[in-house]
Structure formats: structure tokens, C-alpha cells
């Protein structure tokens, strides 16, 4: 046991080191989001947000710390008392600090984003509509591609899978022109209506699952005079809840993360989604207000991470499934 542990030591070291590398950018985002601006741009970087107080005339006063220098055998610090404009010099020993996250950064970032409530509402509306659209349409199509044996089915399915190779930028211009001709540019419609026309990737995923259900089940129902749509609705779908959940989750993520779609179809800032709103905020405030930018990023990232933690198992299963017979 001990021997095995020692033999595996290099592996563990590598894994822990790698895990830290993967985790640090996320932790750095959170750390920055909780700091006041003057503590974001420091060298060496600090991981924790602090508040500083200096003893002045026996009273603790909140201050901004400045450079420390040595004079007459003592360390001194230039500090700026909060709310004042002139710095004073105090003995460095009189300055103390304690950890204090600036939760107000989140509120300030939200206010600085101007239309945050609208961004959030638009994103949630889109997530809801696209999840409904995708689950309904791809379940129907996947059923047609797996549980009914019609002539030419497999050839059509190969065609469907082949369409997955077409990237959005390739069809972007005609899609834009199409939506413009029916007056949908500047509305949310181009972003959710297409999901009601089953996308190949989700069909593929659900089909994999539908195929695992024994044929006899459908045949028995057919003999009892059950119509195809009823078999789909009352027998197959209830058995496929986990797979439907996976498709719903993937679609939720895709909608939440989508950037290029909203970028080309949305014109009014009030119609923006969170992803687009975050980029808009960055293009206006980026480069200096790192604490607000990171706070806004946390707001966009956090829901996705929380959702992932609650649905980890179906998620991982779903991704694993995409690789099967790829």
C-alpha cells in the first residue's frame, strides 16, 4: 500500500500541479472581483482583498496604503485616509490590515452594465424557448430516425450527421439576409425559432439513446393498436428522460454562451443577452476597471458552474455519449 503510494507520487504531483494550473485563472477572476480597484493592479499580486487601518492619535482610521520606506531606523508608510486628499506619513507598524471582500463590486458592476436586468431576462427567455424547441423537435426527429424503419432512413441520417460539419460562419450571410427580409433583425426570434427545427447534433444524441430501448416494446404496443405518436409520447419519452435532460442542458449552455448569433442579429442594447452585454461592457470599461469586469464575468460564469454541479452526472454522460461511434 505504502509502496504503491510512493510509486504513484510523481503522478499525484503532476495531477495536483495540473489541477492548480486549470483552477488558478478561475480563482484569479473571483479574487479580482472582490477587490477594490487599487488592489487589483499590484505587484506582486495579492490573492485576498484587504482593508487597511492606521492608528492616528490613538484612533483607528481607514486608509489606503502607500509605499513603505526606511528612515531613522524605522519603517514608515505614506497612507491616504479614506475621503481625504492629502497623504500622511505614519509608522508602518501602526498600519494593520484585515481581509474584507468587496461584495459591493457585484452591485456596482451590474449598475455599470446599465441594462443588466434586460440582459438577464433576454437570456433566460432565450434559454427557455430554445430548450423547449430543441427538446421537442429533436425528440420527434430522433424517434423518426431510430424507432420507425422506413426506406432510405439510414441514408437520410448520414446526410443529417454530415450537416454537423457546416459551421455557422459559412451560412451566416444568407441566414442574416433571410431574417432581414422577414423583418426579424433586431428581435430575439432568429435566436430561438431555428431551434424548433431539430439540429443534427441533438438528433444524433437522442437517437443513440432511443436505439437502446428494445424493439419488442414498440411492437407489443403496435399489436395492441397503439398509434405511433402515442408510442412516442407515452412509452418511449418517459424512458428517455435522462437523455432529454442532457439535450436540454446542452441547449441551455449553448444559448447562455452564444455570442456570434446575438452579435449579428441584435441591434438594440436593451435586447442584448448576457454574453453580448458582457462584451459590450468590456469594450466600454475594459482595460482599467478590472474588478468590475471580473465581477461581471463571475455573474456570467457562476450560473453555468452551479448548474453543472447539480447536473454533473448527466452532463458527463452526455458528453461521453457524443464520442461513442463518432
Amino acid at each position: 500500500m505504502i509502496g504503491q503510494l510512493i510509486r504513484r507520487l510523481p503522478l499525484h504531483a503532476l495531477l495536483i500541479g495540473g489541477a492548480l494550473l486549470f483552477l488558478i485563472p478561475l480563482l484569479w477572476m473571483i479574487s479580482t472581483a472582490l477587490k477594490p480597484i487599487e488592489q487589483t493592479m499590484t505587484m506582486p499580486p495579492q490573492w485576498l482583498p484587504y482593508r487597511y487601518t492606521a492608528q492616528m492619535d490613538g484612533e483607528p482610521v481607514a486608509v489606503r496604503p502607500g509605499p513603505v520606506y526606511r528612515d531613522e531606523g524605522r519603517d514608515w508608510m505614506r497612507v491616504l485616509p479614506e475621503g481625504e486628499s492629502t497623504a500622511v506619513t505614519v509608522p508602518a507598524d501602526d498600519v494593520s490590515r484585515y481581509v474584507s471582500p468587496r461584495w459591493e463590486n457585484f452591485g456596482n458592476a451590474i449598475r455599470a452594465m446599465q441594462f443588466f436586468p434586460q440582459y438577464l431576462r433576454n437570456t433566460l427567455i432565450l434559454c427557455l424557448l430554445t430548450v423547449i424547441g430543441t427538446v421537442c423537435s429533436s425528440a420527434l426527429a430522433a424517434y423518426g430516425f431510430s424507432r420507425i424503419e422506413w426506406r432510405g432512413r439510414n441514408r437520410v441520417f448520414i446526410l443529417a450527421v454530415a450537416t454537423m460539419m457546416i459551421p455557422f460562419p459559412v451560412i451566416m450571410v444568407p441566414m442574416y439576409a433571410l431574417f432581414q427580409s422577414i423583418g426579424w433583425i433586431g428581435t430575439l426570434r432568429p435566436l430561438w425559432v431555428p431551434t424548433f427545427f431539430a439540429q443534427a447534433f441533438n438528433i444524433f444524441l437522442l437517437r443513440q439513446f432511443f436505439l437502446t430501448i428494445p424493439k419488442d416494446l414498440s411492437d407489443a404496443a403496435r399489436i395492441d393498436g397503439c398509434g405511433e405518436f402515442r408510442i412516442f409520447l407515452q412509452i418511449i419519452l418517459p424512458l428517455c428522460k435522462p437523455a432529454l435532460l442532457v439535450v436540454a442542458l446542452f441547449q441551455f449552455m449553448a444559448t447562455w454562451n452564444d455570442f456570434l448569433g446575438p452579435l449579428i442579429y441584435l441591434t438594440d442594447q436593451k435586447d442584448f443577452t448576457l454574453a453580448l452585454g458582457l462584451q459590450f461592457f468590456q469594450s466600454q470599461h475594459g482595460g482599467t476597471e478590472w474588478h468590475y469586469l471580473m465581477a461581471a464575468s463571475v455573474i456570467v460564469v457562476l450560473p453555468v458552474i452551479i448548474l453543472f454541479f447539480f447536473t454533473q452526472k448527466s452532463f458527463i454522460e452526455g458528453i461521453s455519449m457524443t464520442g461513442v461511434k463518432g
Partner: protein, 295 residues
């Protein structure tokens, strides 16, 4: 066709009708329209005017097009193989027995859940030339970090590093395949005295080759259409000396900023052909080495 056959055909088509409509309206039509527009002078508010192969001839002499293409290929040529290798190695490590394995899996997977827009924001800050965490870490080990995002030599390496951070999806797919490799294969190899590396190369790689192939194809499709990160981090002009002007960004700019929709369609069509060609090459060169159980 018998009556029964015709009936099942009809029912089958009824079920897949959402896909058929989507295919006609949102795949077939736009692909054909892209081809047609690529031979036209087409600004959004005017009718397309047929100009023959002018867009394609323009492309041949368009320095910016060539630069965006070479940037994209440079990125893909490194990010795809490195990504494939790293995701495979991490998956192999995570497939070993050790403490808190599932926690490690979550940690390695987590960054791939972060929306691309936020990925760009986080790394803008990590790569910051003066206050960035990365350069501080490099300084600690005695290296002078470059000004990543402002130095034309480092913009693409920066994006490649970011792509490795988001490797989680490919890693999970690898991991799932690793778990399906029969243990007996390793046990008999061990009896024969095969080293860990030999087992990896002669058992693991062939056994999960379909999944490696899948990740390769996904890598090709994903890398060639990289858009969000370079667009946000370097803007539409592609950063210092256009060193991070990516193909999809240039395409977007032509379509929606310069109003050259026809030219953008020609670019789009070339991109699609490129993806098809690379996928074909990848398929041809790996076909004999991919092992499908049960065949």
C-alpha cells in the same frame, strides 16, 4: 412499395419533418445561397449583382485574407495536436486509481464550462503585460514574460494556451473511452512484461482510436472557425500587426462592417472547403489505424 411500407415511410417522414424543414431552410438554402452570393457583388441593402469569379480573384491578391488564413492555420496546426495530446494524457492520468479522483476530474473539466466571452475576459487579465498573473509567475521562476497581447509574436501562442485550458470536453470523451477498454488486455500485457509506455501505445491508443479521431475532427472544425476569443481580445482589426486576425473574424468584418456580403460568402465557401479537405485528409491518413471493435 407495399401499402405498409408506404405507410411507415409516411409516418417516418412525419416524425422527422422538423428536421427536413430545418435542413431545407437553414442548411441547404443558405449553403446554396452562399455559393450564389459568392459570385455576386452584394451589399445588404441592394440586390446581388452577378460578377463572376471576381470575389475569388480578389481573394488571391488580398493580403489581409492571406494573413487571416495563415494566422488561423498557424493556430490550428499547434492547438489541434497539442490539445489532442494534452486531453489524452490528462484522461490517462485521471483514469488511474488515486484519492479524490472525481474531484480532480471536475477541476480539469470546469474551465471548459466557462462561456467563451468570459474565457476571453479572464485571460485578458491573466495575460496583462504589467499586472498579469502569468508574467508574475514567469518572473518568479526567473523569466521575463512578454507583453502577450501587445506583441505580435505572442498573440497566437496566447490563444493556444487558452485553447488548452478549455480542453475539458475532449478529455471527458477520452476518459469515457478509456473506461471501456477491457482490463484483461492490460493484465496479459503486464504478464508479458510490457512497460507502461508500451501498453499506452500498443493497447490504449488503438483501443480508443475512434474517439481520438472524433476529437481530431471536432478540433479541426472548432479551430478553423475560432471567433469569440480573438474578436473580444483583439477587436476587429486583429491586434498588433493583424497577428491575431482570424479567418472567421475577417469574414464577419467583411459581411457586417465593410458591407461586402458577396466577398464574405466567397470567404465562407473557402472556409467550408478547407474544413472538408482537412477532414478528408485526416480521415484518409488515419483510416487504417482506427480500430472499431466488432468490425
Amino acid at each position: 412499395m407495399t401499402r405498409g411500407e408506404r405507410r411507415t415511410l409516411f409516418i417516418g417522414l412525419a416524425f422527422i419533418s422538423p428536421w427536413i424543414m430545418g435542413f431545407l431552410l437553414m442548411t441547404l438554402y443558405p449553403v446554396l445561397a452562399t455559393i450564389y452570393y459568392s459570385f455576386c457583388d452584394y451589399a445588404l441593402l441592394s440586390e446581388p449583382i452577378w460578377i463572376g469569379t471576381l470575389n475569388y480573384r480578389d481573394m488571391a491578391t488580398d493580403q489581409v485574407f492571406w494573413q487571416s488564413l495563415s494566422n488561423t492555420i498557424y493556430y490550428a496546426a499547434i492547438a489541434i495536436p497539442v490539445g489532442l495530446l494534452v486531453s489524452f494524457l490528462i484522461a490517462v492520468m485521471l483514469n488511474q486509481a488515486f484519492i479524490a479522483r472525481s474531484a480532480f476530474r471536475t477541476i480539469y473539466f470546469l474551465p471548459s464550462m466557462v462561456p467563451f466571452v468570459a474565457v476571453a475576459m479572464i485571460w485578458l487579465w491573466v495575460f496583462h503585460g504589467q499586472f498579469g498573473l502569468l508574467n508574475y509567475a514567469l518572473e518568479r521562476i526567473g523569466l521575463q514574460g512578454p507583453n502577450w497581447l501587445a506583441d505580435e509574436r505572442y498573440t497566437k501562442p496566447a490563444l493556444i494556451i487558452m485553447s488548452i485550458w478549455s480542453i475539458g470536453g475532449a478529455m471527458v470523451i477520452c476518459l469515457a473511452a478509456l473506461q471501456d477498454v477491457p482490463r484483461q488486455l492490460y493484465e496479459s500485457a503486464q504478464l508479458d512484461g510490457a512497460s507502461f509506455m508500451r501498453q499506452l501505445w500498443h493497447i490504449t491508443v488503438p483501443m480508443i482510436s475512434p474517439v481520438l479521431y472524433f476529437n481530431l475532427i471536432m478540433g479541426i472544425i472548432g479551430s478553423l472557425q475560432l471567433f469569440v476569443q480573438p474578436f473580444i481580445m483583439f477587436g476587429s482589426d486583429g491586434g498588433p500587426n493583424r497577428s491575431a486576425l482570424f479567418y472567421a473574424v475577417y469574414l464577419y468584418e467583411n459581411a457586417f462592417s465593410y458591407g461586402n456580403m458577396g466577398y464574405a460568402c466567397a470567404l465562407a465557401w473557402v472556409l467550408f472547403m478547407l474544413i472538408v479537405a482537412l477532414t478528408w485528409v485526416a480521415t484518409r491518413t488515419t483510416r487504417k489505424r482506427i480500430y472499431y471493435a466488432g468490425e
